[in-house]
């Protein structure tokens, strides 16, 4: 356990070898992770608790941390050595609990750069529990930490006391063990100041976001062009073609590959082995890899809290605060991690608004692949229309929800960590952790989605449904009736719907309407399931009603604006 952003997760992954997300942003460990390690031949379970400043929780993540504490046999308290005074508050609270404690004095190397001298032997005597200086990022001190876990003990002398009492105690401890040299403004401090002051920070933020997206595109496109497409075209396509011949016409061919006799097109064939495999792996995955890699770099350097500060005012108007940018950014990769991260917002109102906006207005990479796939050939103007609509919606719906949803929107209160150099290994690890969400959740749904759609198609239910709702589609939104089939498919997987839309031969502006509605009206099943868990059934029903309502209104308005009456 420990404060947010002190390197708990890195210590944890050093101890267990597990993959854990560590970042220079307070509150990324919203779920706890478990891992195993061996101490003297015995297997023990280690739990990585979310960061907390005290045992009186102020948000859900901290609540989880306090609850976990009750089950622990030994506590490893990770302490930020560069910020001993504040960290010791939690340490003292932990020591009051009659559970054996050992302390890892982490970020030990940073203290030297900052001119902080800590007498750790003296601190050990004063606190009465083992203390080990560590640099978790490089692994320094971790072996000593492991070998001393068995020495962890309860300090009988520390009794529960008041808040004031703890601070007095901390003051006296700090006076005895810590000396701080006077320090000049370093280069790093100057950069930090520049990026958080509005007149320099805002242009820098725009520049960074622009570069980030350029970088994502660069990596994504190259991955597709030089790795994924060649594999699919040269190695995989011949196998599928041979399979096609072997199967011959029939239901099996339609489901597995697509319509018989039509040339195989990985986007439009809609077979499990063609579209079902190609779209998630070759069209979406490369961008997800590129996106989370870039985001991880931004996170690990410590830039995100600064960005949250700069955009706080806007997000406050939308009923959240600057932290709301985190679900938004994470959601751009895949909505599932985005939905999970709403947990770090303090109130129900904030979580509801953030989750609803995420589901309606934030296109994940699969949705973006759909948007670009359907409209890319017609030019950037049409793609721009979709994104403009989504941005306006984010703001308008946010303003409205802020006014009508009951509850509080507390102000931002966020630590701004010093800039740190990201470790490449940690960044790769984190990218991988987040991609796993996609692989685990999205791909099975895509497979099942293709299967269900194909079966429904073969039976004829889809065509029947398309005909039934075609007056609504045409009358309200100016779309062909068959577009409703794409909307149903979109519930299972958005990226799957693109092939269906392309084959309908719609005009570009009709496509803009269809694609925008597809993005808005519902999140995919995977996100839906996570949101039910996060918001509860009742709130999720409200949120879903808003989604459908917004999709209908927006579809209708777009039809009037773009196609005329």
């Amino acid at each position: 356990m420990g404060n947010p952003n002190v390197g708990k997760s890195v210590v944890f992954s050093r101890l267990t070898g597990a993959n854990v997300i560590a970042s220079n942003y307070p509150g990324t460990t919203v779920d706890f992770s478990k891992g195993n390690m061996r101490i003297d031949g015995k297997r023990v379970e280690i739990i990585d608790a979310p960061g907390t400043y005290s045992l009186e929780p102020t948000n859900k993540a901290e609540e989880a941390a306090s609850k976990m504490l009750k089950k622990a046999d030994v506590l490893i308290n990770v302490v930020d050595a560069t910020n001993l005074e504040r960290n010791l508050y939690l340490t003292l609270q932990l020591l009051e609990r009659n559970i054996p404690v050992i302390i890892a004095l982490n970020l030990w190397d940073e203290t030297h750069h900052l001119g902080i001298h800590i007498n750790e032997k003296e601190l050990e005597t004063l606190l009465g529990v083992p203390i080990v200086p560590t640099v978790a990022l490089t692994g320094e001190g971790i072996k000593t930490l492991v070998s001393r876990i068995k020495d962890a003990k309860i300090n009988e002398k520390i009794k529960p006391t008041s808040e004031e009492g703890r601070w007095v105690e901390i003051g006296s401890i700090i006076g005895k063990v810590e000396q701080v040299e006077h320090r000049h403004h370093t280069f790093r401090d100057k950069i930090s100041d520049l990026t958080i002051r509005p007149h320099t920070g805002i242009p820098i933020a725009i520049g960074i976001i622009f570069c980030a997206f350029w970088f994502v595109r660069l990596i994504g496109e190259n991955l597709i062009e030089y790795i994924f497409d060649p594999i699919f075209e040269n190695l995989y396509l011949p196998i599928v073609m041979r399979l096609s011949e072997w199967l011959g016409p029939g239901i099996a061919h339609t489901i597995l590959i697509g319509e018989y006799g039509v040339e195989i097109d990985f986007f439009e064939s809609l077979g499990i082995l063609t579209t079902g495999l190609y779209v998630p792996i070759a069209a979406v995955l490369p961008y997800i890899v590129a996106f989370y890699f870039t985001l991880s770099i931004l996170e690990d350097t410590g830039y995100l809290p600064r960005l949250a500060t700069l955009v706080d005012k806007i997000f406050h108007k939308l009923g959240m605060h600057g932290h709301g940018i985190v679900p938004l950014f994470l959601g751009l990769g895949c909505n599932v991690p985005g939905a999970l991260s709403t947990r770090t917002l303090e109130t129900r109102k904030q979580r509801f608004i953030s989750a609803t906006l995420l589901a309606i207005c934030v296109p994940c990479m699969a949705q973006m692949a759909m948007i670009f796939g359907a409209l890319g050939t017609y030019g950037l103007y049409y793609i721009g229309l979709v994104f403009l609509t989504l941005t306006i919606l984010y703001i308008v719906i946010g303003l409205i929800l802020n006014r009508f949803i009951k509850g509080e929107s507390p102000e931002i209160f966020l630590e701004i960590p010093p800039y740190r150099r990201p470790s490449l290994k940690a960044t790769f690890k984190k990218t991988w952790m987040r991609i796993r969400w996609f692989l685990k959740e999205a791909i099975p749904y895509l497979f099942v989605g293709v299967l269900i759609i194909n079966v429904l198609y073969v039976i004829g239910i889809l065509q029947w449904f398309g005909n039934a709702v075609s007056p609504v589609m045409e009358g309200l939104f100016g779309l062909p009736g068959d577009a409703s089939i794409a909307l149903i498919t979109g519930f299972l997987r958005k990226d799957l719907a693109v092939g269906m839309l392309i084959t309908l031969n719609m005009a570009p502006l009709q496509l803009v309407i269809a694609v925008t509605m597809l993005t808005i009206y519902f999140p995919c099943v995977a996100t839906f399931a996570v949101l039910i868990k996060e918001l509860g059934i009742k709130d999720m029903l409200k949120s879903a009603a808003i989604m459908v309502g917004v999709a209908i209104i927006v579809g209708f308005l777009l039809r009037i604006i773009l196609l005329g009456a």
């Binding site: 005290s54 504040r86 930090s192 100041d193 509005p198 605060h321 507390p410 931002i412 966020l414 960590p417």
Partner: protein, 75 residues
């Protein structure tokens, strides 16, 4: 004066913190307590949040919270 009136980069000392117990504790665990030295790093426009430095670390807090903190400039 209230913290929000303190000029950027001017050192001050926290004189008092108004507000309920929960609020005081929330700030307290982050090092924002009476008698601590404090300085403003940046102020966001349109009554946006302040970034302050206290106890060797920086944090961002809303303007409304800053109104509840009274400081005295240190000479």
């Amino acid at each position: 004066m209230p913290l929000s009136h303190l000029p950027i980069n001017k050192k001050a000392r926290i004189a008092s913190i108004h507000g309920g117990y929960g609020f005081q504790r929330k700030l307290g665990v982050m090092g924002i307590r009476e008698k601590q030295e404090i300085k403003i790093v940046s102020k966001q426009p349109f009554h946006g949040p302040l970034t302050i430095e206290v106890c060797g670390s920086q944090m961002t807090l809303g303007r409304g919270m800053a109104q509840k903190i009274t400081v005295e400039v240190v000479q």
